[in-house]
């Protein structure tokens, strides 16, 4: 009896122990995966001076400045411990070595010499939204954004059209060479663009699409994954529907877009999500095709800015956040479709 009781409790305890371990693992995972993104987000709201501070803070603290009479620029504010032990807020006029010239905002005429050790900066929480707003004025950020959106939208629309047409033919027709065509398309899965980089560059150059957004769009609109995904889905559409339409003298084109396309909407939605992610995040192909900065996508712009010697991190971080925002929103709303879509197709 006693033995049975003991083993039973131990068993129950062990179950609880593994559960705790699982949750611990998940929480560590949550931290590892999201803390970096969160840190980036908070850092992107820091002012230019706050971003250079070491050690960095999580929240965007910045030093308070005050406008003092007789001084055109706003001055940084400090808490100064005076010789008599009194703490007073004072603004810094200038600094030489370990001494600073400070002024009391209440009495702008008198300046005091203060040792650096005697003062503490007055900090306040301030979100520098101008990191974001200034992007559009300072850089051709609007152009990059437009290029990215244009490529993503146009390529996705064409991908859906071309791939669904091919999938329609491959699933609803019997024609000579059908197997060969299907195998050829699947074979392209095995040929990643990385191994045909040089010749793709030549082809794009020869058709005159170098430094053109179409040079990034066209090579990407035929995807083996898309054809495969749509074909598998269209196979489940009963042929009787098509036959009935043919009885009514519907043309093949009409059958395609009036019957098959609407019925394939779920698969088209999955492909659309994939395509948006692929094109928005694309890097290597744009990198070799688009070399002039007026054709840069967001990814290329980010890459070129981070490579500059005096990287202006406050702008770069804001730009990074804007770049990850659409994908994050898409994910937040369509998480279920994406995860089940990928799990079923086994593709990314």
């Amino acid at each position: 009896m006693l033995l049975k009781f003991l083993t039973r409790t131990r068993h129950a305890q062990r179950l609880g122990w593994t559960d705790a371990l699982s949750y611990a693992y998940l929480v560590v995972g949550l931290f590892t995966l999201f803390a970096p993104v969160l840190w980036l987000l908070m850092s992107s709201f820091k002012t230019e001076s706050a971003i250079g501070e070491f050690p960095p803070t999580f929240l965007p603290y910045t030093q308070r400045t005050v406008q003092v009479d007789n001084y055109p620029q706003p001055l940084p504010l400090f808490h100064v411990t005076l010789d008599d032990g009194q703490v007073k807020p004072m603004a810094q006029v200038s600094r030489i070595g370990i001494m600073a010239t400070m002024v009391d905002p209440e009495h702008p005429q008198e300046t005091v010499q203060v040792k650096l050790l005697q003062r503490q900066p007055v900090r306040e929480l301030k979100f520098a939204f101008n990191n974001y707003t200034e992007l559009f004025g300072k850089f051709a950020f609007g152009t990059y954004l437009f290029n990215s959106v244009f490529i993503t939208v146009v390529a996705t629309v064409l991908t859906l059209l071309f791939n669904s047409m091919a999938a329609f033919a491959l699933s609803k027709y019997k024609f000579t060479g059908q197997k060969t065509v299907f195998l050829l398309i699947i074979a392209t899965l095995m040929i990643p663009p990385t191994i045909v980089l040089v010749p793709i560059f030549l082809v794009i150059n020869s058709v005159g699409l170098l430094n053109s957004l179409w040079g990034v769009i066209l090579p990407a609109v035929a995807t083996p994954t898309g054809v495969f995904l749509l074909r598998q889905y269209m196979l489940t559409i009963p042929d009787e529907l098509l036959e009935a339409a043919r009885m009514d003298h519907a043309s093949e084109w009409r059958i395609y877009w009036r019957i098959v396309l609407p019925l394939s909407a779920p698969a088209l939605a999955v492909l659309a999500i994939f395509s948006v992610m692929w094109r928005w995040n694309d890097f290597l192909l744009p990198l070799i095709v688009l070399s002039k900065s007026e054709f840069f996508t967001l990814q290329l712009a980010l890459n070129s800015f981070q490579g500059e010697l005096n990287t202006q991190w406050h702008y770069l971080l804001a730009m990074t956040v804007i770049t990850l925002l659409p994908v994050t929103l898409v994910f937040a709303f369509l998480q279920r479709y994406i995860t089940t879509g990928i799990a079923s197709a086994g593709v990314k």
Binding site: T18, D19, Y23, Y25, L26, G29, L30, L33, P36, V37, W39, P56, L161, F162, A166, A169, L170, Y173, Q178, V181, L184, I185, T188, M190, I191, P192, T194, I195, V196, L197, V198, P199, I200, F201, L202, V203, L218, V221, A222, S251, E252, W253, M277, N281, F283, L284, Q299, L302, Q306, W313, L317, L324, V327, T328, F331, Q335, I338, T339, I342, A343
Partner: protein, 325 residues
């Protein structure tokens, strides 16, 4: 919607006419046409041209201006005085890139499979809010490589949060991205961070496809959790594990984007991988050595074909095993 209908109606006469001309079954070619054209132009034609580039010399882009040079490009790539010392090779960066890529792939794929398996096993338990946790682990997969690299570059820079933590613990700061060992470590860490969720998802789908009654039977037989894992879960998950292994391997060999932005291949060539070598030889350096880049990409292609054949062999072996069972 109306615009869409207008657009599709616009194409109607084209297809109606072709239907009359070609007949119904040959109309299929019109439907697959656009796809095949794009594939032909941007995938199949480039393969042929690639071989041509690899066997011709010079710095011209246009094929007509490139004299045939046989295997010279390959000789340049592979010639070494002493094959045990990269320094003596004519293209020592190429060898270093191959060495780095192999080292990276082996370590990264091993850790990737282990961690995604562990995560999938945890996510497959009866946990509260499974959908939420699945989303958590999947989220970084959607981020672009450039964004991923910049997030980590920001954390790892010499005045970043990692060094702040070190200083707070009275440890001198470390140059994470300019020390060759640390830089290599972080390329592996960041690529696992970014892609683990994808493989986790595939494994999770496999785990959820395992019938529940097998586990009930194991419970009846009082099998230990460890025994259940090694004797039931892992063997039944094997098809998915192989898919994950091979996909991860194929991707790891082609690693480029994140590393390129994170470390730029440096310090020196400590994190230069094979695709970056191709990109730099063909496009980034002053003189564009297209022939050499094409030869290197053919070498990469051979590697990928070997990996694909390995996959076929593994899956066949597994099929045979199932038939015996």
């Amino acid at each position: 919607m109306r615009f869409l209908a207008f657009f599709f109606n616009l194409l109607e006469p084209v297809f109606a006419l072709s239907q009359k001309w070609l007949g119904q079954s040959r109309l299929a070619w019109l439907f697959v046409g656009p796809n095949l054209l794009v594939f032909g132009l941007f995938t199949f034609l480039p393969i042929v041209i690639n071989v041509f580039y690899a066997t011709s010399a010079g710095v011209a882009l246009m094929p007509a201006d490139r004299p045939f040079s046989g295997l010279e490009n390959f000789q340049t790539l592979f010639e070494c005085r002493d094959y045990f010392d990269f320094q003596t090779c004519r293209k020592d960066v190429f060898w270093r890139a191959i060495g780095n890529t192999l080292q990276f792939s082996v370590i990264q794929v091993t850790l990737m499979v282990l961690f995604s398996l562990l995560t999938a096993l945890v996510l497959n338990r009866k946990i509260i809010g499974r959908g939420f946790w699945r989303g958590v682990f999947f989220y970084p997969v959607l981020l672009s490589p450039v964004v991923v690299a910049l997030i980590w570059k920001w954390l790892l820079k010499s005045q970043g949060v990692f060094n702040a933590a070190l200083v707070a613990m009275d440890h001198p700061p470390i140059e994470w991205l300019t020390d060759s060992h640390w830089a290599f470590f972080w390329t592996i860490f960041v690529s696992i961070w970014a892609h683990m969720g994808f493989y986790t998802l595939i494994l999770l789908a496999g785990l959820q496809a395992i019938p529940k009654d097998v586990y009930e039977a194991a419970l009846m037989d009082k099998a230990s959790p460890w025994r259940t894992l090694t004797r039931i879960t892992l063997p039944l998950l094997m098809p998915n594990l192989i898919v994950v292994l091979v996909l991860a391997m194929i991707r790891a060999v082609q690693v480029f984007d994140e590393v390129f932005v994170l470390t730029g291949g440096g310090p020196g060539s400590a994190t230069t991988f094979i695709v970056q070598f191709i990109y730099q030889t063909g496009f980034a350096e002053q003189i564009h050595l297209y022939g050499l880049a094409a030869a290197a990409s053919l070498a990469l292609a051979v590697g990928l074909i070997v990996l694909t054949l390995l996959q076929l062999k593994l899956t066949r072996a597994k099929d045979a095993g199932q038939k015996v069972r």
